[in-house]
């Protein structure tokens, strides 16, 4: 007899394992009252400088900490340590993105109740991190003016998966003839209604507005958790 092909239904999410861990992290963050922000961008867009400034500015008023993903070095963690906030490096080896389980084990031994904000800096990559939920409250995608206005159109998946866009290095905008209007339209084309900030971590321009936004989101999230 000839064998006959038969289909059996399965319906299983391939990334279920990651999603389960991410969900339990999200519950843990909410319970502890810590607001978690993840940062994604291409390499060299200024994530670390931006995060260093963010931690430095928030530290007088909030309890802040950061996890940083890097392929091989611990340079980012050393740079961020200058902000005097607790920083832990996650070295991913050859892996191009962070997964929820890596965040979970990096947080081992941390008392999340002692934190207001936790920042998770992903590996510099605009492709792979988009598929992995890390349990964050807010996913922030960065693009620098030197990368060009069409970044959102080239990487629509990650921009669409993000909650906020931050355009960095605006102090260089004139030199590279960056068109803010074009960039803004491109961002909104792939993610209508997304909040967009433009700033320079170097000069501090635009940082205040963005920090006010974060502070407001922390309050909102705690109010939502209390209901």
């Amino acid at each position: 007899m000839r064998p006959e092909p038969r289909l059996i239904e399965v319906r299983k999410n391939v990334l279920k394992q990651n999603d389960v861990v991410a969900r339990s992290l999200r519950d843990r963050f909410r319970y502890a009252g810590v607001f978690v922000v993840s940062l994604v961008s291409s390499p060299g867009s200024g994530k670390t400088a931006f995060l260093e400034k963010t931690l430095t500015f928030l530290r007088p008023n909030y309890r802040v900490a950061a996890l940083v993903g890097d392929l091989a070095t611990e340079n980012d963690a050393s740079r961020l340590a200058r902000s005097e906030a607790p920083v832990k490096q996650i070295t991913t080896g050859t892996l191009c993105h962070l997964e929820a389980a890596m965040v979970q084990s990096a947080l081992d031994g941390w008392d999340l109740n002692q934190l207001d904000f936790l920042f998770i800096e992903n590996v510099g990559n605009l492709v792979c991190p988009s598929s992995y939920d890390l349990g964050e409250d807010l996913r922030l995608v960065l693009m620098s003016v030197t990368e060009g206005e069409d970044k959102p159109l080239k990487y629509p998946t990650i921009f669409n998966s993000a909650d906020v866009t931050v355009v960095t290095k605006v102090d260089l905008a004139v030199a590279v003839e960056f068109s803010w209007e074009t960039a803004y339209n491109n961002i909104l084309a792939v993610r209508p209604g997304m909040p967009v900030f433009k700033l320079s971590a170097k000069t501090g321009e635009g940082m205040e507005e963005y920090l006010r936004f974060l502070a407001a989101r922390l309050i909102e999230s705690r109010q939502a958790a209390a209901v």
Partner: protein
């Protein structure tokens, strides 16, 4: 390139199902959303690699690509997008970020070989 680790997850998932049901797998049917962040061609070549030295060696990965569908509040209807670079209703042009489908990365079915019992 995270397609290899995704391919390995698919193979592991299928292997577990095959073992549980005591069947041999010919093909794995996968739904792949345009917003899944996974590239079909890369996934297909990684799948072959991931199958090596497993019971799934020689099996196929059948990928069904799923377009993005948004909900348009103005038309009050679901609309498929022709491009992931423009999240606007293709009928009336209203922007929308309400995604109804397009993020799938899901094993939907397994194709197995079933031998009919031999006539005595």
């Amino acid at each position: 390139m995270h397609e290899l680790s995704i391919a390995i997850s698919i193979v592991e998932l299928a292997e577990q199902e095959a073992e549980r049901r005591g069947v041999q797998i010919d093909a794995v049917h996968l739904k792949l959303g345009a917003l899944s962040g996974v590239v079909k061609d890369a996934l297909l070549s990684c799948y072959e690699m991931a199958c090596e030295n497993t019971p799934l060696q020689g099996s196929r990965l059948a990928v069904e690509e799923v377009p993005v569908v948004i909900f348009c509040r103005r038309c009050w209807a679901q609309r498929p997008l022709s491009s992931v670079q423009l999240f606007c209703c293709p009928e009336c042009g209203t922007p929308s970020s309400e995604i109804v489908q397009g993020k799938e990365l899901e094993v939907v079915a397994l194709e197995i070989q079933e031998c009919a019992p031999n006539p005595v």
